[in-house]
């Protein structure tokens, strides 16, 4: 019963940390979606310069560790006069990081819509942007919900790295409490349990969204 006692005693101390983890995850995902969509469109236009910029961004972000990116934003940027709080630096860093992956998810989703859809829209006289907005994106967004949900979960777990730039999220809190009580292993396990619960809740929400979309709009299975 020592375990239950431990959980009961220390869980409340995690509540602010859990809230911060949720906030930083949601903010970084929202930022990531905006950056991802813009980047995906930049990658798909015929403007070579935009293609290059998008490619460069994706290459750099996917090719370097998140912890390096976060450290750069939090510890290095002040050197050129950009000082951000740990929370803001963490959210932006994670957002920029997720954006690169989300961009590829969006690009895949957009490209998975058959060219016949574009041709049908253009032959009605719709402009390129009308076609994208009215015809392609609504279909693509439905297709990217599952991989996007997956990215949400990755983002949630990755937010633990923000602890290393002093954000008081779940992982950081477990380290701090563990160090001061000499019960490091127990606190790591407790932190892990919280992540597991949050990931499970996220998954349930994503599945709900998928279900709603499926029934409300009848995803077409055939080649259209």
């Amino acid at each position: 019963m020592a375990v239950l006692e431990f959980i009961k005693t220390y869980s409340p101390l995690f509540l602010p940390a859990i809230w911060i983890t949720i906030q930083i995850t949601v903010l970084s995902i929202l930022l990531g979606i905006v950056i991802g969509l813009v980047t995906a469109l930049a990658k798909l236009t015929r403007v070579k310069l935009l293609n290059r910029i998008a490619d460069l961004y994706i290459t750099v972000i996917r090719g370097t560790p998140l912890i390096v990116q976060l450290s750069f934003i939090y510890f290095a940027l002040p050197g050129i006069g950009i000082e951000l709080s740990a929370f803001v630096a963490g959210s932006i860093g994670l957002g920029i990081h997720n954006g690169a992956y989300i961009a590829e998810i969006f690009r895949g989703g957009i490209q998975s819509i058959s060219t016949g859809q574009t041709e049908a829209a253009r032959s009605l006289g719709m402009t390129q942007s009308q076609t994208m907005r009215r015809i392609i994106l609504p279909q693509a967004l439905r297709r990217v919900i599952p991989p996007l949900g997956n990215q949400f979960i990755i983002a949630l777990k990755d937010s633990s790295l923000a602890g290393l730039i002093t954000v008081n999220e779940i992982y950081m809190t477990s380290r701090r409490l563990g160090a001061s009580t000499y019960q490091q292993m127990e606190f790591y396990m407790l932190a892990g349990a919280f992540y597991l619960i949050l990931v499970t809740l996220f998954s349930v929400v994503v599945q709900k969204i998928e279900k709603t979309l499926e029934t409300s709009k009848r995803q077409s299975s055939e080649i259209l």
Partner: protein, 244 residues
Amino acid sequence: MSQPIVKLKNLNKWFGDLHVLRDISLEVDPSEVVVFIGASGSGKSTLLRCINFLEEAQKGEIWINGKEINPYRENLNKVRKKIGMVFQHFNLFPHMTVMQNVIEGPVQVTGTPRKTAREEGMELLEQVGLEDKADEYPEMLSGGQKQRVAIARALAMKPELMLFDEPTSALDPELVGEVLNVMKDLAKKGMTMAVVTHEMGFAREVAERVFYMDEGKIIETGTPGAIFDSPQHPRTKQFLSQIL
């Protein structure tokens, strides 16, 4: 004298090294129905797709309604607005209902008020016999029904010319008739139509002129009677003997 709706002059198109259209010249007059026949790969579909600039011809002239269209200077959206296109695979918008599919063009492109567009849309759906399907999603329809919706969607833009790119080739045999009937109706109402098809019965009954294409060239042109009953070119003879 009325001018042709479409006039092509020495149209040439390449896909890389492949010369898919060779010096195509032709005219389609208002209310005329022309049919393109030929083996697959002969360039029929590409030709049709060049007329509404889904493909770009590298050489030659395309005149629409007496005006030469330069794809780099002209607003192609304006040109396409007046040219309806029906595809082999329907290409209905799966995330929209039948009615939404039909009114998408008028509402988004022409700025028609939604209410007017719906009323006109309903008339078009009646015309193709699908007024009871207005609120269904495309996936609930049979192939023939889908193609009829696609025709209504194209007609909703009040086009001056309708292009049909193998409109019945993806259909089960028993569903071909309903689509051809809608097309025949349309022809009777005076719509100008350019049709790529393997339905020789339709060509014979509806077309004013038939073009036989082979390796990117139009090698024989004539009335359906002339082409089907007394083809002149050996290639035409061979093709017709294979399919008739």
